[in-house]
């Protein structure tokens, strides 16, 4: 296993072998999670704090479960409700928490780069659970694990990421990871939801869904983030569904064995048709949730190993 990081702030700093280390270990943790005694003690004696400055039920519970399965003491802090409202700065919050001697800090924040900033101020391992429009590394890792298990490989695949690319940290982390693994990437969406300079990443950019889906192996749909819309990005939900919503007709352009993914929570009838999402032959959306717990277990385990090694070296 090679994993050299002190934090998991994004996919960008990771090398190929580090990504594969996480995925390989996650495979073991999938087996553990499916076994009768779903418990190990890799994180025993460690304190994990989940600090969410932005609402999230799914990611937070996934991290919580991952920590508990590995024996960590887990605490959840909902930050919208607390001191942020009282005017405390991010740095002060971080220093306060740091004084409680956590070992793993899982952070989600609405601003890009906020988790990097926080990681500079604490002496524990920090995991980025999503920062603004920047990165959401564990989501990309769980997607990669899902693809590898469904397709038998994680390279030389045609992968389409569709929808609201501009506001999506999931898209960024995914295109960095899948690019590092040498896949062909396509981004599909209306120009108003497509960030600038994407073709410079080595992606092909499509505005037409059917054209973009032609012969792909993997279709990753993104949530249309309504809460991020200032208004005016798309004319209406129904026109969006008509042009970019994944239904059987559009999916027919992909390869016959193409898999369908979605990071959740889904807007059925907006970006994805309900019957596609529920089609067990095509959709791997439930697997993604399962892989999420395993990948987070693996990432926290690897970070904890480095943290312990570093502390022993310092002692």
């Amino acid at each position: 296993m090679t994993f050299r990081q002190d934090h998991l702030l994004g996919i960008e700093p990771l090398a190929q072998d580090e990504i594969l280390s996480i995925l390989d270990l996650a495979d073991d943790y999938v087996a553990l999670s499916r076994s009768r005694e779903k418990h190990a003690d890799a994180l025993r004696g460690l304190t994990q704090i989940n600090m969410f400055f932005e609402n999230s039920t799914r990611t937070q519970s996934s991290f919580e479960l991952a920590g508990k399965r590995l024996g960590a003491d887990v605490m959840n802090m909902s930050m919208q409700a607390s001191s942020i409202k009282k005017g405390e700065t991010l740095i002060d919050t971080a220093l306060t928490l740091n004084a409680m001697r956590p070992d793993l800090l899982v952070v989600r924040h609405p601003h890009s780069g906020a988790v990097d900033l926080l990681a500079q101020k604490v002496n524990c391992a920090v995991l980025n659970a999503g920062d603004g429009r920047h990165e959401h590394p564990t989501q990309a890792l769980l997607d990669a694990l899902t693809i590898r298990r469904a397709k038998g490989r994680l390279h030389r695949l045609n992968i389409a990421i569709c929808g609201d690319i501009a506001h999506s940290r999931v898209a960024r982390s995914n295109l960095i990871l899948l690019g590092k693994m040498e896949n062909r990437l396509r981004l599909i969406g209306p120009p108003t939801l497509m960030p600038a300079g994407m073709s410079e990443f080595g992606c092909e950019v499509y505005e037409d869904m059917e054209e973009g889906l032609k012969d792909v192996d993997v279709v990753m749909m993104l949530r249309l983030q309504k809460e991020r819309m200032d208004g005016g990005f798309i004319p209406s939900e129904r026109e969006y569904y008509h042009r970019y919503g994944l239904d059987a007709e559009k999916l027919a352009f992909a390869k016959p064995d193409a898999i369908v993914m979605h990071p959740g929570p889904m807007n059925r009838g907006v970006e994805i048709d309900g019957t596609i999402a529920d089609d067990i032959n095509r959709s791997v959306i439930q697997e993604q949730v399962e892989m999420g717990v395993a990948v987070r277990m693996a990432a926290m385990d690897l970070l904890a190993r480095n943290l312990r090694a570093k502390r022993e070296a310092a002692a």
Binding site: E12, T89, L90, I91, H109, H111, S112, G113, A114, D116, L117, D131, G132, R133, H134, E135, R169, R172, P195, A196, G197, M198, E200, F201
Partner: protein, 419 residues
Amino acid sequence: MITFRNARLIDPETGEERQGDLHVVDGLISDTPAPGAEVIDCNGACLAPGIVDIGVKVCEPGERHKESFRSAGLAAAAGGVTTMVTRPDTDPPIDSPETLEFVTRRAREVSPVRVLPMAALTKGRAGREMTEIGFLLDAGAVAFTDCDHVIENTKVAQRCFMYARSLGALVIGHVQEPGLSKGAAATSGKFASLRGLPWVSPMAERMGLDRDIALIEMTGVRYHIDQVTTARALPALERAKENGFDITAGVSIHHLTLNELDVADYRTFFKVKPPLRAEEDRKAVVAAVASGLIDIISSMHTPQDEESKRLPFEEAASGAVGLETLLPAALRLYHAGEMDLPTLFRALSLNPAKRLGLGQGRLSAGAPADLVLFDPDAPFVLDRFKLNSKSKNTPFDGARMQGRVRGTWVGGARVFGDA
């Protein structure tokens, strides 16, 4: 009374440099030496007209903990800036003769260098009602600007420009189209997309410039653009100048020496307004300064305390201090072979002085003896905590620079250095 001997004289007026002596008599540059004058041996160091820096933010009134006239003045003196042309974006803004008088008095009391205040063009810089431009001119305002606030209502802008024209007042505009620029923290492109930062297209500058050029044509106002930072805005500027409009343009030293990639991992000291641009844009504006299309280089000195910078990039305050780093940073352009020293000082000293109708910026007889003596090659590594500014938000912290100021004189009186 001073005689500078063995100086490398940088004369932006003639566009030439030569070895020689320079005489100062009664605070003015003179052709003939005065008897008994102090002799300063320059040992071949450069002697140039002091920098006239348009757009310095001194945080008085309102935020004296960030910068005072005293600290800004010391920073200016150490940086070879002999005239600070101050911005009105204080709290409260300088939008009445009374607040302007406060600034003038504070500056006179504590600043070692000259201070010329600018005033707001609209009350509260809110873009609705014009300020008392006539009274403010009488009180000593040298130009009128709402700084980084753009007057969004074009009718208001038109009337402000017309009224300013009737008094011959100079208006300084920020030409970033406000709708597109709102909330932006980076320039659109691969870097902003990768970092997930809210972006603005560089075309926002062209659009803002196009509108203001049309207003200049309508009103005949004397107009200066605070910062032109993109390649696409340059042809419009060139046409406006060819058409004979009374228009000049500036650029900040940061846009001449840094690009968007310097932000790297969300380094907030590199957050400025407008945001840093692509390398092609940086090169284009450097070339425009060399050719004279862009007239003026300024520091856009904007002090911010640690608290307002130690935040996630989007939330962090914009701006960088620059009074002390303006000259060494500008010398990077000289060392890179982009322009010679007289051309550099045309943009740092002569052109801003001319634009404001001042006698500074020259080495000819009769000009005020506002001078900077510097060694253009002396290397150093910048330590932000050694800056004179109260705020230490410089993007050049730890940077290797060349160019040390050895002495600064204002009206023939030494304000910095002891050699």
